[in-house]
């Protein structure tokens, strides 16, 4: 998420310089003055059901908000980018399924991967192929 936070800062410098109306930027500060941005972790369906039941029973107040579109899967994309070298050594030529910052399944074919991810309790993961060899530059589909 550091890369995203830096990009956010760059954009707002640009917006400020151009005189356009700025968007809201939210950061979180701990009691010692350090600033943080947040990452998203998946919540399994059964946990959502449990939370809704607790809400219904008055044990907790559950607030449900739409995720900002620009944050969708930002955690997985950033994590993949930060861990590419290690992935290439560990899973060369394999498809990987990711939830949050965790690999939940890997397989040589995508259909098999989805089956394995489902069996691991993650039927709708973020997927990517780890190349066996360094990819060549892309100039359009062949």
């Amino acid at each position: 998420m550091v890369a995203d936070a830096n990009a956010l800062l760059q954009l707002h410098k640009h917006v400020e310089a151009s005189g356009q109306v700025a968007d809201t930027v939210r950061i979180f500060v701990d009691p010692f003055g350090s600033a943080w941005t947040r990452i998203y972790l998946p919540v399994p369906d059964h946990a959502v059901n449990e939370l809704q039941e607790m809400h219904g029973a008055g044990v907790i107040t559950l607030e449900i908000e739409p995720m900002p579109a620009e944050d969708f899967r930002a955690t997985e994309m950033s994590w993949l980018q930060a861990n590419q070298e290690e992935l290439r050594h560990t899973f060369p030529g394999e498809w990987i399924a990711i939830e949050g910052q965790n690999i939940v399944a890997h397989a040589p074919e995508l259909p098999t991967l989805l089956q394995a991810a489902t069996e691991a309790g993650h039927p709708h993961p973020f997927v990517s192929l780890v190349p066996a060899e360094p990819p060549v530059p892309f100039f359009g589909c062949q």
């Binding site: 830096n6 760059q10 994309m77 074919e109 995508l110 989805l114 709708h124 589909c141 062949q142």
Partner: protein, 138 residues
């Protein structure tokens, strides 16, 4: 005369795999019925429509019947494609559209093209600053 263009969100350039250049990638959900999952999509103004590797067709339970294959063209020449209508969920928009599946498409990411993705978004690319700006159209 200055032209003011409104964008509502941006995404810093990212890189789906080592060795691929940083570029304007978004996360995209591929959905067919109850089967759905997410992957990288490259915002590609040069693509007529969106395209994904044939592995995705198989994962979504779609047939790659040789009799249904069509010919698509790319920089490297012609290639076989299969068109199937699925949902693309990207940046808050659900786009139900025919998508091309081809073994000539990079397996690491799909292409988000003009007929569907660009029809629903205003797109800006600030390459020097490494960011994609976008705005969902009504």
């Amino acid at each position: 005369m200055p032209i003011n263009v409104k964008y509502s969100a941006f995404r810093a350039y990212s890189q789906p795999v080592a060795g691929v250049a940083l570029g304007p990638f978004l996360s995209v959900r591929l959905r067919r019925g109850g089967v759905y999952y997410d992957t990288f999509g490259l915002v590609d103004s040069g693509a007529d429509g969106s395209m994904f590797h044939t592995q995705h067709a198989l994962a979504l339970g779609l047939a790659l019947d040789q009799a249904q294959a069509q010919v698509g063209s790319g920089v490297g020449g012609n290639t076989e494609i299969w068109l199937h209508t699925i949902d693309l969920v990207v940046a808050g928009a659900t786009i139900t559209t025919p998508v091309a599946f081809s073994s000539g498409c990079p397996p690491n990411y799909g292409l988000l093209g003009r007929a569907d993705f660009f029809d629903r978004f205003r797109i800006g690319i600030e390459h020097r600053d490494g960011r994609l700006l976008y705005h969902r159209l009504p």
